[in-house]
C-alpha cells in the first residue's frame, strides 16, 4: 500500500503531468482583492511557517508575492516564525521583481520576536524593528519614511502553519486598525479559518498547495505568465491521485470491516 502511495505521488511529479484546477471562491476573493488594491498601497507579507511545511506554503508565498510585484504596490516582509526571513529571501530570489528596488518598493524587516513587537509595529515600525535583514537602519529606508507605521498598511497576508499568527494579526492589526487580512494556510488548519472568512474578517484564504495552483492559474489567465513558477500546478495530479487513493483505502477498509462483522455474526 505504501508502495502504491509512493508511486501515485512520484510518477506524476517526475513526468510533469498537469491537470486543470477549478478555482475556489476563497482563492478568487484574495486574487481580486490584491488586484483591486489602490496603487502605492502598503502590503505586509508575513512568513509564519516552519521549514516542514515548505512544500505546502512556499508555493503560495511565491505566487502571491509575484502578483504583488506585478502591481504598483509597496511590500514589507516580516516573519512571526524564526524560519520566515530566509524563506522570504528565497521567494524574492524566485520571482521576477521587475523594476522594483530594495528599500524603496520592498524590504525584508526580518523576524518579529514576540507579540509585543507585533502590537507596537502599527504605531512605529522603526522603534520595534530597528534594522532590516541586511543590517540597514529601518528608519533610513525610503519605504519606511513613506510608511513609518504599520497602521498605514492596506493589507496583510500571513502564510501560517499553526493559526497563532493569523489570530495575532486579527486581534492586534485588524481589530485595532481595521487592516484587511488574508491567510495562506495548510490543509489541516484551513477549516478553522472559515468562520473568519464567512464573517468577512478575512478577504481570502489560500488552502494548501492547491490554493497556490489556483492562484498560479489566475495569474496565467490575466497576465499570461507565471505558470510553473511555484511548482504547485505540476503537483496537482499527484495531489489528486493521492487523495483518491486515500478515499479508496477508506472505502476498502470499511467494506472489509462490514464483511468481517457479518461473517462473525453468522458464525455466532
Amino acid at each position: 500500500m505504501y508502495l502504491i502511495l509512493l508511486l501515485v505521488i512520484t510518477v506524476p511529479v517526475l513526468t510533469h503531468a498537469s491537470i486543470a484546477v477549478p478555482i475556489t471562491p476563497m482563492t478568487r476573493a484574495l486574487y481580486d482583492f490584491i488586484q483591486n488594491l489602490p496603487p502605492n498601497s502598503l502590503v505586509v507579507e508575513s512568513f509564519d511557517y516552519a521549514t516542514s511545511v515548505v512544500p505546502e506554503l512556499h508555493p503560495q508565498a511565491i505566487v502571491v508575492t509575484q502578483h504583488i510585484f506585478m502591481r504598483p504596490l509597496k511590500v514589507l516582509f516580516v516573519a512571526l516564525d524564526n524560519n520566515g526571513p530566509p524563506l522570504a529571501d528565497a521567494v524574492l530570489d524566485t520571482i521576477n521583481k521587475g523594476n522594483k528596488s530594495y528599500g524603496v518598493d520592498y524590504a525584508n524587516l526580518g523576524y518579529i520576536p514576540n507579540t509585543a513587537t507585533l502590537i507596537g509595529m502599527p504605531s512605529n515600525i522603526a522603534q520595534f524593528l530597528p534594522v532590516d535583514t541586511h543590517g540597514n537602519p529601518t528608519a533610513g529606508l525610503p519605504i519606511i519614511k513613506e510608511f513609518p507605521a504599520a497602521k498605514d498598511a492596506a493589507f496583510v497576508i500571513t502564510f501560517d502553519d499553526d493559526s497563532s499568527a493569523l489570530y495575532s494579526y486579527l486581534q492586534y492589526w485588524q481589530g485595532s486598525f481595521n487592516i484587511a487580512v488574508a491567510v495562506g494556510a495548510t490543509a489541516t488548519i484551513a477549516p478553522g479559518f472559515m468562520p473568519f472568512y464567512n464573517s468577512g474578517q478575512l478577504v481570502g484564504v489560500l488552502i494548501s498547495i492547491r490554493g497556490a495552483a489556483e492562484y498560479e492559474s489566475l495569474l496565467n489567465q490575466q497576465y499570461h505568465c507565471c505558470l510553473g513558477i511555484s511548482g504547485a500546478s505540476s503537483a496537482m495530479v499527484a495531489l489528486s491521485a493521492s487523495h483518491v487513493l486515500i478515499v479508496a483505502m477508506v472505502v476498502f477498509g470499511n467494506a472489509a470491516y462490514f464483511i468481517s462483522r457479518r461473517t462473525s455474526k453468522r458464525e455466532k
Binding site: I9, T51, F128
Partner: protein
Amino acid sequence: MSSDKKMTREELGLQIIIFSLGFFYAIVYYIAVPGTVNLQAVSDQLLAYITAMLTAAFAIGVINLTRVHVNNIKRKRATWKYSVILIICLYAMAIFSMIASPYALDPQAAVIPASVIAFSTPIWEFLYYKILVNINSTIFSLLAFFIASAAYRAFKARSLESTILLAAGLLVVLGQAPIADLVWPGFGAIRDWILAFPNTAGQRGILIGAALGILVFSVRRLFRYPWGD
C-alpha cells in the same frame, strides 16, 4: 497550594506587578490623556523591554541545553553520541547564522571581515536550504503514509456519528482533489458547503468557548495569581 492560603510577601509583590501591568495594558486601549502622558508610548516602551527579557530567557535555554548535553558526553551516558551531534549542530548552525544569514549580527561587515562572511554564506545556505528545509519537509511528508495507513485501519463507520464524520471527511478530501472536480463539479460545491456551514458552526462554538475560557483565566490571574492551584 490552595487559593485560601495567605500570600507570602514575595508572592504579594509579584501579584501587585502582575495586576498593575495587566490592568495598565487593559485600559491603555480605552483611554487617552491628551497633552500630558502618552500612555501608548509608555505601553510601546514596556513592550520593547519584553523583547529583551525573552532574549535573555532564550539564552538561558541555550546554556541549559549545553550543560545537559556536555554532562551527557562527560559521563559517557547511553546517548552521549547523540549529544555530540546535537552540540555540533546547535553551535555550527548558530555560528554560521550569526555570520551569514538574515539573522546575521554584522551583515554590513563593519567588524566581521567581508571574506569571512563570503566564506560562510554558501555554507549557511547549504545548511539551511539544502539540509534543514529538506529534512523537515521529508519528516512532515511521512504524514501522508500515516494517513494512508489509518485510512483502512482506523476510519471505520462504527456508529451513526462516526459514519457522518467519515462521510463529511471523505467528501472534503475528494473536493480538495482537482480531478474530482473535473469528474463531477458537485464535489467542489459539497466541499465548499461543508466548510462554510457545518464546519463554520462547529468552529465558532469552539472559538467562542476558548475565548471565554481565556477571558476568565486572564481576570483570575489579574486578581489572584494561581499559586500552584
